[in-house]
């Protein structure tokens, strides 16, 4: 299967990158933007074909490595590959 992990900053955590992108878009003339937040996208090609098992596995990866649970949240999407 293929797992798509989205890692995003928790609410309230300052996002300097998002802030800078927001400003840069503004000075490029893109108005009407309220907020920009930047996160990570991690694509994992797994051998596992059982969805439940794959999910459990990727969840563990997130907790252990992919996300920094002190400041980040994650979400997992799975698709057959």
């Amino acid at each position: 299967m293929k797992a798509l992990v989205k890692v995003t900053l928790k609410n309230g955590v300052l996002d300097p990158q998002g802030k800078a992108i927001h400003q840069a878009l503004g000075s490029l003339g893109f108005d009407g933007i309220d907020q920009v937040r930047q996160g990570k996208l991690i694509e994992i090609d797994l051998n596992e074909n059982d969805e439940a098992k794959a999910h459990a596995q990727v969840e563990k990866m997130c907790e252990k490595l992919l996300a920094n649970m002190v400041i980040e949240n994650y979400s997992i999407e799975l698709e057959a590959s």
Partner: protein, 229 residues
């Protein structure tokens, strides 16, 4: 000779390169704010090292959109020499003045250290005081200096002799061990077709003073001054 150093928010080697330029030229460079529309008449444009816009999003990406960059591109296209050092090199690729792109260093770490470079050409305004094949010592200091270009672009760079410097060992051999960041073909710096634009990751301004441990970088500035004065 006159030189202009463009200062972006987050540039931090602007003063350093101005010092080297002054040593070589005998006069101050113009420090030009990124928000200006035009660069005063100059013989050389320098895009300095640093973290323009914090290196957020991609190194050099936001700086490439700065108002001053229009004039940089215009002047570069009309033949005014441009030197992009480190963040300046990243910016040149983002602005499309040089091909390729810079990825995160292969070991994912920021690296600040002296490296050896092999001088691939000495027939440009930047390099005429070097000897071709010379091994010189210049520091690197970057997180994203892993030069990437697709196979076709890389072949063009090689075929047209547009490689300026390559990472090498102290004996001049181009090896994987001597490649500090994973750059394709050990590329540390490249020229445009006409040899008027140079982008390189190492910082020549950092070893242009014997008290700092070497003067190999100074040679680049003296080459420029001799040619452009």
């Amino acid at each position: 000779m006159k030189a202009a150093v463009i200062v972006f928010p987050g540039s931090n080697c602007d003063r350093d390169v101005a010092v080297s330029l002054k040593d070589a030229m005998g006069c101050d460079a113009d420090m030009v704010w990124h928000g200006d529309a035009e660069i005063p008449k100059t013989d050389l444009i320098v895009l300095p090292g640093g973290f323009s816009y914090g290196d957020y999003l991609r190194c050099g990406a936001m700086a490439a959109q700065s108002p001053i960059m229009k004039d940089v591109v215009t002047k570069a296209n009309s033949g005014v020499p441009v030197l992009g050092i480190c963040n300046g090199f990243q910016l040149l690729t983002e602005a499309g003045l040089l091909p390729g792109a810079m990825l995160r260093n292969a070991n994912l770490k920021y690296l600040c250290k002296d490296v050896h470079l092999r001088v691939e050409r000495n027939d440009t305004i930047f390099s005429r005081h070097y000897t071709q094949g010379d091994v010189i010592k210049i520091p690197i200091a970057h997180h994203d200096g892993n030069f990437f270009a697709d196979a076709k672009t890389l072949a063009q760079l090689e075929d047209r002799n547009l490689i300026a410097f390559r990472y090498c060992d102290s004996g001049g051999k181009i090896t994987d061990e001597a490649n500090p960041n994973g750059s394709a073909n050990n590329i540390a710096g490249i020229y445009n077709e006409n040899g008027t634009i140079l982008g390189l990751m190492p910082h020549p301004e950092r070893l242009a003073d014997i008290q700092l441990g070497g003067v190999d970088g100074k040679t680049m500035f003296s080459s420029l001054v001799e040619t452009l004065h």
